[in-house]
Every structure is written in C-alpha cells, then in structure tokens.
Amino acid sequence: MIPIEYWLVFSSLLFAIGAYGVMSKKNAIVVLMSIEIMLNAANINFVAFSSYHTTLHGVAEASGQVFALFSIAIAAAEVAVGLGIILAVYRRYQTIDVDKINILRW
C-alpha cells in the first residue's frame, strides 16, 4: 500500500503545475485546463484522506470519494460555462488571449 505522504506530494505537484499554467499561459483554454488540473489535485486529496481516515478509524465510509464525485460534476458544469464564455469572447473580439481581454476591467 502506498503511504499517504506520496499521494499528498503527488497532489501538491499537480496543484503547482496547474498554478503555473494559470499564472503563465495566455490562451484561455489552456488556463481552463490548468484550473481543471488544480481541481483534480484537490480530488486526489479528498480520496486519499478518506481512505486514510477509513484505515485509521476502521469505519467503512467513503465520504471523500463521494465529495470527489460531486467536485467532478461541478467541474464539468464549470467547463461548460467557461467554454461558452470563451466562445462568446472569441466571436466578439477575435481573440482568447487573456492579456488582451479586458472587458471586465472597470
């Protein structure tokens, strides 16, 4: 069995990769994909801590897995709306470069 530290390190690295993508990439779709990577890192944490909790306390429940399922569903909804917004922005401004999109600036 894999110790929990390995899962947490893996999740941290995944989160850092996603954060790098959000901070450095200019393409809005790549930014959206990076956000999904960060969400997947959080899901791995959910499942890892749930399994660890079950082992420590001997109670067979899978709340972390269930919350990861909810998180995946909410991520799907977010992607649907995000891609729709990107499509609308592209139709109007002919670009999805996040440095050039400043319509939310007041």
Binding site: P3, Y20, Q65, I74
Partner: protein, 80 residues
C-alpha cells in the same frame, strides 16, 4: 516578451513548501484502505440506517442541466 523565470521559481518554491510541510507532519501509521464501489454507493445513497447524499445528487443533476443550458445559450450564434 514576458520572462517566465520568476513564475517558474515561484511555483518551485510553492511545491517545495508543500512537500516540506507534508513531511513535517507526523502522520499516524496506517496504509491506504481499499474502498470498494459498494462502499461508495452506500455512502452516496445511504443504507437502511443512514440517509446518504441522494438529495445532493439530484441537486447536482439540476446544476448540470442549468450549466448545459447556460453553455448552449452562451455559445449560440447571435442573430443580426
């Protein structure tokens, strides 16, 4: 052209911070459990003694439907 070096350095520092924090914790001994699909299903929809998350599953389905409709509305062509 923006330089990527500060961002890469910031991310490496963030990752090292995470890893150091994880290894500083004295985790109690215990390997990962083998959770089965049955456990997930029983937690999700409940057993005879437990309620579960059935209502939340319904609400998530409603959220997905609304997101689908919102995505279609945002993506459709505008009429001139």
């Amino acid at each position: 052209m923006r330089t990527a070096v500060p961002r890469i350095l910031a991310i490496i520092v963030l990752a090292i911070l995470f890893i150091v924090t994880i290894y500083q914790v004295d985790w109690p001994n215990g390997a990962m459990d083998d959770t089965t699909n049955e456990d997930v299903g029983q937690t999700l929809f409940g057993t005879s003694n437990d309620v579960g998350y059935g209502l939340i599953v319904l609400l998530i389905g409603l959220l997905l439907l609304v997101a689908l409709l919102g995505g279609v509305f945002l993506a459709k062509e505008e009429k001139e």
